[in-house]
Each structure stands twice: as structure tokens, then as C-alpha cells.
Amino acid sequence: MEFMTYHDFMFWTKGMAYVGMGLGLAAFVAFWLFLTERDEDRFADKEEE
């Protein structure tokens, strides 16, 4: 990207960083659910027993 001013640069890079953080946090929720899915099953089995 070409930037005319320092403000342009900061606006673009900070904006991209915030978008990345938002996507990362949303992805983490999915990742955590994937990671712990079987744990919940295990506890559910125990409750049924």
C-alpha cells in the first residue's frame, strides 16, 4: 500500500490489527469449542451414569 501521510499509515495498520484481533478472538471461541468438545461429552456421560 502507498501512504501519503503518517496518519494514513497508522489508520490502515491499526485498522488491520484491530480487524485481525477481532477475527482471532472469534476464531478462538470456535477453537476452544473444538478443543473441549469431548470433555463436555465425558462429563455428560458421567452425569448419565
Partner: protein, 389 residues
């Protein structure tokens, strides 16, 4: 108890013969380095004053010794007592890791008797290097005290053992603080070189990257060594260690998956914050993607599947990929992507003697570790101190 039955083995096995040859060559090169100077054994120059001894022995050594603070923090600060059997092996590895980091540093320094100078004669408290030196010196002391109960138990020095054991919580807190400081400061050392380090690896978050990545490095080393101990030193392990091993592997795998996921995201924030996207389309970008996808995202997913499916073998393989990834990252920052703009003839390639001395130091460390694991109550509890932890 199973660890009392030592199998009858002859001493001169192929592994021991290879070890003896490496140690003999290393000793000859050590004499050469300390009598004929650093130039006689290295390809270091004013352009590349830090070589493989810093890039591998120090940066990788410190990162891979992070199992000590991660494990002791999990057990003593977060109360995860189910991982207690992993503490002593982790502390032993960390203690030896740091001890050999300092040992390797002496080869770079040359004048080893001046090691305390930065803390006494010429202190530079505004320098990252000063902070690293101070923290490593203090943390090595902390680790020595944390490791010492295994020695006192073997010698049956109960009072010293009790004294060291009573300091556990204090030392753990101190160890976590010191590790946070110097693990990050090692990355901070490279903040001074934005024009030398390739933009994909240079980041204002370097210190954060080094600290965050040290956590899965330490966890992976605990899993890796646990797997090896289970295979080769099974006869030294007592029932508690054998029973708790799967829980340690899978629990640490889950933790490593979470931290690697965060680290993977942070690496992209690092690219975004400096607008380095265009470098991804170059050869350097391809190498960066190999590191970040192949050695961060892939082991992250391997760990996640291993923890989810309760697959210890997959967790063991993930630990190997993670350790390789940490080594790759540290070597990229200190050697490969450092001075990336210099013509090839001015780039640093380590001499065979530098590599051989590194191999010598790693071999020596593994030999001492093997000795400690077989002679000290690390993979089993001492009969006179059962349940006294």
C-alpha cells in the same frame, strides 16, 4: 518398586561410544578456543558478532528450558496438583538447560573470569543485555535451590532438604517473574536492529513473541522428555509417575494448543501493524509462512486433536514439531533473517568447529541429564521422603 531393578547393560554401547567421541573432539576444540582465541574456531566477524553459540545454545537453550517455570507455576501457583510428578523432571531439565546456557556463553565471552563484570564492575542497567544477564544469574540460582532437594534426599541431609522445600512457593513466584522478564528481554535484544533483521521477523512485539513462544516450548519439552523417559527410563519411574504421565501429556498438550493458537494470531498482528503484507509474496515470505504455518499452526492443530482425542502419541509428535519450530524461529531471528540485505559472501555461515562445539555442549548436557535421572530421585520418590512434597 520397579525403579530398583536396574537392567544389566554393558557400558560401551554404540550410543556411549558416540558420546565419548563427541566429548573428546569437543574437549580438543575447547582447548583450541581458549588458547588460540575466538577467531581460530569461528566464522564470526564485525558484521556477524553473534553466531550459532548465541542463536542456538543461548536463545534456543533458554526457550526450551522454560518447562521449569511453566510446570512449577501450573502446580504451585494454579494448584494443578495432578501434574506434580512432572515438576522434578521439568526443574531438572530447566536447571541443566540454564547451567549449560551459561557454560556455552563462556565460549563466546572467552574471558570467562569476567562473567560477573556486568553485574559488578561495569553495570549497564539501561541495557536489555544487563537485564538478561541479571535474570539468568538469579534464575539459575533459583533453579539450583529448587533442584537441590533431589540431591539432599540422596545424601539424606534432611534439614537442608526441609529448608529448600519450605522455600518452594517463594521460589516459584520468583522464578515466574524472572522468566517473564528474561524470556521477553531476549527478544528485546533484537529491537535495536530494525535495519538488520528482516521486516517479517522484526516487530515491536518481539519481546512479547519470545515470551509467549517460550510457554509452548517449555510445555513441549516436558511432553517430549516425558515420552522419552517413558520409553528409555521406564524402570526408573515409580507407580505415581507412570500413572500420572498420560494426564501430564494430554493436559500440557491442551495448554500448548491454546498458547500456540494465541501466538499464531499474534504473529499476524505483528505483520499487520507494520504493513509487511507485501513481503509475503517474496522468497523470505515463503520461508516465514513455512515457520508460522508449518511450525506454529500445524503443531497447534496436532496438539488440539491430540488433547481432544486423548492421543498421547500425536501429542508426542506435536511436541517434536513445536520444539523444531521454536529452534527455527530463534535461528531465523538470530542468523537466517539477520543481515538479510548483505551480499552472500558477507553472510555468516558457522564453521564446522562452531557446530561441533555446540554438538559437544548438547551431548554433555544430555549425558549429565541421563546421569541425574538415573542416580537421583527425579522420576521416582525417595523411599524415605514419600509424599513429602
Amino acid at each position: 518398586m520397579s525403579h530398583h531393578t536396574t537392567p544389566d547393560k554393558k557400558f560401551w554401547t554404540p550410543a556411549n561410544i558416540l558420546t565419548a567421541i563427541i566429548l573428546a573432539i569437543g574437549l580438543v576444540l575447547t582447548v583450541k578456543r581458549f588458547t588460540m582465541g575466538i577467531g581460530s574456531v569461528t566464522n564470526l566477524s564485525d558484521d556477524n558478532p553473534w553466531g550459532i553459540w548465541i542463536g542456538f545454545d543461548l536463545l534456543c537453550g533458554v526457550a526450551l528450558a522454560a518447562g521449569g517455570y511453566t510446570t512449577s507455576a501450573a502446580v504451585y501457583l494454579f494448584g494443578m496438583k495432578k501434574y506434580h510428578s512432572a515438576v522434578r523432571p521439568a526443574i531438572t531439565t530447566a536447571f541443566l538447560g540454564y547451567a549449560f546456557v551459561v557454560f556455552a556463553l563462556l565460549y563466546d565471552l572467552g574471558r570467562y573470569y569476567r562473567l560477573p563484570y556486568p553485574l559488578t564492575i561495569y553495570p549497564g542497567p539501561t541495557s536489555f543485555l544487563f537485564e538478561v544477564g541479571l535474570c539468568v544469574a538469579l534464575y539459575l540460582t533459583v533453579l539450583a535451590i529448587e533442584f537441590s532437594p533431589a540431591v539432599w534426599e540422596t545424601l539424606r541431609w534432611k534439614k537442608l532438604r526441609h529448608l529448600a522445600h519450605s522455600l518452594t512457593l517463594l521460589l516459584t513466584i520468583f522464578g515466574v517473574i524472572l522468566s517473564t522478564l528474561h524470556q521477553s528481554s531476549l527478544g528485546g535484544l533484537y529491537l535495536i536492529a530494525p535495519s538488520k533483521l528482516h521486516p517479517l521477523w522484526y516487530s515491536p512485539y518481539l519481546a512479547l513473541f519470545f515470551f509467549i513462544s517460550s510457554i509452548p516450548a517449555g510445555l513441549s519439552m516436558v511432553i517430549f522428555e516425558g515420552g522419552l523417559s517413558h520409553k528409555f527410563l521406564h524402570h526408573k519411574m515409580d507407580e505415581t509417575h507412570i500413572e500420572e504421565a498420560p494426564g501430564v501429556t494430554l493436559g500440557f498438550a491442551k495448554a500448548a494448543a491454546v498458547v500456540l493458537f494465541g501466538y499464531f494470531n499474534l504473529k499476524w498482528i505483528g505483520v499487520a501493524i507494520d504493513d509487511n503484507w507485501h513481503y509475503l509474496a517474496t522468497g523470505w515470505g515463503a520461508w516465514f509462512l513455512v515457520e508460522v504455518i508449518g511450525f506454529v499452526l500445524v503443531p497447534c492443530l496436532m496438539y488440539a486433536v491430540a488433547a481432544r482425542e486423548k492421543n498421547q502419541k500425536l501429542a508426542f509428535w506435536a511436541s517434536i514439531v513445536t520444539v523444531a519450530g521454536i529452534v527455527l524461529n530463534r535461528l531465523n531471528i538470530s542468523l537466517v533473517a539477520f543481515n538479510w540485505q548483505l551480499p552472500t559472501e558477507f553472510r555468516y555461515i558457522p564453521s564446522w568447529e562452531e557446530i561441533m562445539i555446540t554438538v559437544f555442549i548438547v551431548t554433555l548436557e544430555i549425558t549429565v541429564l541421563r546421569f541425574c535421572l538415573s542416580k537421583l530421585p527425579i522420576l521416582h520418590e525417595h523411599p524415605e521422603f514419600k509424599g513429602a512434597h
